[in-house]
């Protein structure tokens, strides 16, 4: 496999991380809390889509929509029940509650679906992979397997392609939403200064709910995409990608939306490249090492703003 091949698979993984990291960073920006349960929303999204696809009557597109709706509702409900009463509590209390929610989701899934891994059916099952073949006359596209192995430049599976495209579209839409619409600007205002935003007539509670809804729906999309590319699904599926996405969010500067995108994509690429060229067992260690090095030289992440503490 060529370097470009690893790069593309890294981009696809990174795009998924970026989607999850967006949820982390938005919630952090607005509620100043580390939502440890975010990773488990991915798992819930995966299981919902899995259940829907497994039932015969449900077409794939509808399963994805069901999964998004379920996660969105779940995200809002979790915020209302578990986090809202703690809005003025010390940050550690909120963190422990988030850990409690995460345990709850994992164990509820364990009760319902059991601990053995399910084989997730790809959402683009019958689609052929793209192939880029290098020939004398230049680069050519094929959508069916061709017998030119020696000249093969790149194979992009449909899952990879869909992951990258869907993530890019969502990120573009989200950027537009936050910068151009009223609700998006309200989110920015609340994350800047909750009290002042309230004085300007912004409904803070509704804005926070909206943030959780968007973050959770992104997690559902990420869950479906991730399970399509890496089809093993069990109650703990979400926790490691959740942590990695959290790392990605910090890497890019937590609270910053473009930072989460850049952080996620960089993290995915670094992980795949180090898996390919250094060691597959040590890839996690390398990812964390890069994060630590970045944070030592730039303590607030790549795009994080430096806040001077005033006395």
């Amino acid at each position: 496999m060529s370097f470009i091949q690893y790069l593309v698979s890294g981009l696809s993984l990174g795009a998924i991380y970026a989607l999850i990291a967006l949820g982390y960073t938005m919630v952090y920006g607005i509620a100043k809390m580390l939502n440890f349960a975010h990773g488990d929303i991915i798992m819930v999204g995966g299981f919902t889509a899995f259940t829907a696809i497994s039932s015969a009557w449900c077409p794939v597109w509808l399963s994805v929509i069901i999964s998004i709706v379920v996660c969105t509702v779940l995200g809002v409900v979790i915020e209302k029940i578990a986090y809202k009463p703690l809005r003025n509590a010390p940050p550690l209390a909120v963190l422990i509650t988030a850990i409690g929610v995460s345990y709850f989701l994992q164990n509820a899934a364990l009760l319902i679906f059991g601990s053995d891994s399910k084989n997730f059916p790809s959402v683009v099952k019958n689609a052929p992979p793209f192939m880029l073949v290098y020939e004398n006359s230049g680069v050519k596209f094929f959508t069916s397997p061709v017998d030119t192995a020696d000249k093969l430049l790149l194979t992009i599976s449909m899952e990879t392609f869909v992951s990258i495209v869907v993530s890019l579209v969502i990120m573009a839409a989200l950027t537009f939403f936050i910068n151009k619409t009223k609700a998006g600007k309200a989110m920015l205002a609340v994350s800047e200064d909750k009290g002042a935003a309230q004085l300007m007539g912004i409904n803070v509670n509704a804005t926070i709910s909206l943030t959780f809804a968007i973050g959770s729906s992104l997690a559902a999309v990420a869950g479906v995409l991730m399970c399509s590319s890496y089809p093993l699904l069990n109650p703990y599926t979400g926790s490691m990608p959740g942590i990695k996405a959290f790392v990605a969010a910090v890497f890019g500067g937590i609270g910053s939306i473009p930072g989460a995108m850049i952080g996620g994509i960089l993290l995915g690429v670094i992980e795949q490249i180090s898996k390919a060229y250094i060691s597959s067992q040590l890839s996690d260690a390398i990812v964390f090492m890069v994060l630590i090095i970045v944070l030592i030289f730039k303590p607030t992440g790549i795009l994080g703003k430096k806040i001077n503490e005033k006395v």
């Binding site: 952090y28 580390l34 440890f36 578990a82 009463p85 703690l86 003025n88 509590a89 010390p90 940050p91 550690l92 209390a93 909120v94 963190l95 422990i96 509650t97 850990i99 409690g100 929610v101 345990y103 709850f104 994992q106 164990n107 509820a108 364990l110 009760l111 926790s239 942590i243 959290f246 790392v247 910090v250 937590i254 060691s279 067992q281 040590l282 996690d284 260690a285 964390f288 090492m289 994060l291 630590i292 944070l295 030592i296 303590p299 607030t300 992440g301 503490e309 006395v311």
Partner: protein, 355 residues
């Protein structure tokens, strides 16, 4: 007698009484095998939670990598005793040396990691400690050590080349993902002695000049700096001390189970210990002890509800946090504040709030 001294003596007395009663019951055979088996892990987890309380409660920095330091101690102590099994044949002397080796090893890691990590604060510090914990776990997962008559053979990422090993005298010490099998040298008495030493050292540290300096840094970083407190020095000393005791707990742990694998030391373990510390009350060693005993023993006792117990645990965790920070609990706290046990906790909770 000073009030803090009295308080500390009560805490130590409570721990001793707990282990004396349950140790006695277990020796008399009343407690049953299952519950007797919980005493050693409870002791080990208390060491972990009180040492983490030093970082989180006294220093006020969220550390999510405590399991990493435990891992360092567990492996260093375990490797030491496995190698020395035929050299030092008296098990308790070997164990004491192993505890010192593991504790110093973890302290060294704490120092190496602490210097870069403590440049950061808050959530960034949390994620970096989490990262270091995962790095330590991954590295421990890839080390292979084999001993034979020629000495020790090390290998990283791949098993040791079998051609260079003398098969007749081969002894696998560390087998990568399969971990180590340390001799079973931990017993309840040893755990209780180490636990008491830990408590006494930590209590003295907290009541010393260094401990007060750490608390002033926690309460206001800039004010502490401006009155001439060497912030880096005190933060680092608390962090290293905390790591050292996590390492000691790790040594006890690795010698209490037959097969130690690095998978155990992931961030979930760090988070579990953090839950003990936060629910016990930040900065309160007694709170950590009580929370650890209750929260560790409960899921084990309710094993009959096997499938539901962790679900219930999660719900209890959420509602305890919500109740703890609600108006109803404020009223309740005022009513029971006459009891000395709650006095200290609420005072410390107030200290935690101002962070």
């Amino acid at each position: 007698m000073k009030k803090t001294t009295l308080n500390n003596l009560i805490t130590c007395g409570m721990v001793l009484a707990f282990f004396a009663i349950f140790g006695g019951l277990s020796a008399a055979g009343i407690l049953g095998n299952k519950l007797s088996g919980l005493l050693v892990p409870i002791g080990i987890y208390i060491i972990l939670s009180v040492s983490l309380n030093l970082t989180v409660g006294i220093l006020g920095e969220l550390s999510l990598g405590h399991a990493g330091f435990m891992c360092v101690g567990a492996y260093m102590g375990g490797i030491f005793s496995t190698i020395m099994q035929n050299v030092i044949t008296v098990s308790w002397i070997r164990m004491i040396v192993a505890i010192i080796v593991g504790g110093l090893g973890a302290a060294l890691f704490g120092l190496i990691i602490g210097i870069p990590v403590l440049r950061l604060r808050g959530d960034y510090l949390a994620i970096v400690t989490l990262g270091f914990g995962e790095i330590i776990k991954s590295i421990a997962n890839n080390i292979y050590i084999v001993s034979d008559k020629n000495g020790l053979h090390f290998s990283f990422a791949n098993a040791v080349n079998p051609d260079i090993i003398d098969e007749a005298t081969r002894q696998d010490i560390m087998k990568g993902p399969l971990g180590i099998n340390a001799p079973q040298d931990t017993n309840l008495l040893l755990v209780v002695i180490v636990l008491m030493i830990t408590l006494v050292v930590l209590m003295n540290f907290i009541d010393s000049k260094s401990g007060r300096a750490c608390m002033s840094i926690r309460d206001n970083f800039i004010a502490a700096q401006s009155v001439g407190i060497n912030v880096t020095k005190y933060r680092l000393s608390a962090f290293v001390l905390s790591a050292a005791f996590a390492g000691v707990a790790g040594v006890l742990y690795s010698h209490s189970i037959t097969s130690l694998v690095s998978k155990k030391f992931d961030y979930n373990l760090s988070i579990l210990i953090l839950v003990f510390v936060v629910l016990g009350g930040l900065g309160s060693l007694r709170g950590s002890v009580i929370a650890t005993v209750i929260l560790y023993a409960l899921p084990e006792i309710f094993r009959e509800f096997s499938d539901y117990r962790m679900l219930i645990y999660a719900i209890v965790l959420i509602f305890m946090m919500i109740f703890n920070n609600s108006h109803a609990s404020e009223i309740l706290k005022e009513k029971v504040s006459a009891l000395p046990i709650f006095k200290k906790r609420s005072a410390n909770a107030a200290g935690g709030d101002s962070k």
